[in-house]
Symmetry: C2
Subunit: 192 residues, 2 copies
Amino acid sequence: MTPQSFPVGEIVASRRPHRKDAARNYDALIAAAREAFAQHGAEASLEDVARRAGVGIGTLYRNFPTRRDLFESVYADEVNALVRAAAEVADREPWEALTAWLKRFTEYMVTKRAVREALDDESEIFQACRDSMYAAGGPLLDRAQAAGLARTDMDFSDLLRLVAGVLGTTFDDDVQRDRVLAIALDGVRTGG
Amino acid sequence: MTPQSFPVGEIVASRRPHRKDAARNYDALIAAAREAFAQHGAEASLEDVARRAGVGIGTLYRNFPTRRDLFESVYADEVNALVRAAAEVADREPWEALTAWLKRFTEYMVTKRAVREALDDESEIFQACRDSMYAAGGPLLDRAQAAGLARTDMDFSDLLRLVAGVLGTTFDDDVQRDRVLAIALDGVRTGG
DNA sequence: ACTGTAGCGGAGGTACCCCTCCGTTTCAAC
DNA sequence: GTTGAAACGGAGGGGTACCTCCGCTACAGT
């Protein structure tokens, strides 16, 4: 309801280097990895990631000594974007703010899917990211519930799973996707 | 409504061999492949599949010359099981029959997920399987709609995507999964 | 029981991936 | 501009997967 006041910065201490060329390579690696993981899942080739980023394999390993390190950085990056998105919709109407944020949540899911395969659910970073995300998005559901627009026998976690699931499937076209998502959200919505 | 009268047999001409040892190996390969694909996705190692099945790699390649052939057989096998399941629930109450079948649909989704990655959506087998599955499951939704238990501004395809999506995600536990699925189906259900 | 053949397993060539190591390049502080 | 340290790229050793090929095995029909 008020602009987010909790920290939206780095979830884990970012290892982004200071030198210009190094920082550029770091960013290129994160972007390439997100792309590769989205396309090939958790087992994407790291050499392919380095190729996409236009850097040598050695550079990849210096920045991310293990595959897990790369996953964590890509994932944290996505979560940060999602947290920022929550602040951006905070001034809209309750239900519209919620659904707008859930739309942005779609993109996050693509990365999340691959990351799930690689990182243990109980890992520290997952915990931190979940906290961060719930702190950012949770109030959006709270507002809708307080306004009598959303059922109260569910929590934010339920909502995310529902939306994540629906958006994680493929559809004939965008029209069908929106229709099915609307049906799912009809299960969430209450007269208002 | 009446027991299924359409063919529930092989969707594609099965290449299952006649000789006893060969047939056993064929079945073991299908089972091992389903397991491996569920676990590792479309890029599971074929040598691993052969190992799980307890056969030589040569045997795998004789039965399934290409990775695609193996996928198609595993997939067709699953669809056949799903079609049979529709016949088995046909004598229950409309809404209960529908949800019972959708529960079985969960298992199918695990395989489907991997197969999607490997097979083109427009492939002949996908088309045939979809027809077969819709013919089997579609009447279950029709019945529920006719009984005023399900909204009529959606079709069977929408329902499958919705359920497939929800069940394709992970949950904290079975209780949450059932709760979220119930919310989604609340969007489908109409007063009754 | 005999026997022809369908079926079997796995060795091995090729290709790709993982990850380390180190000689070379590039930055930035002076 | 000089220079030292940080960063770079990619060669290369070890491992695994793909797929073919062929000598061996075991089934089924007589």
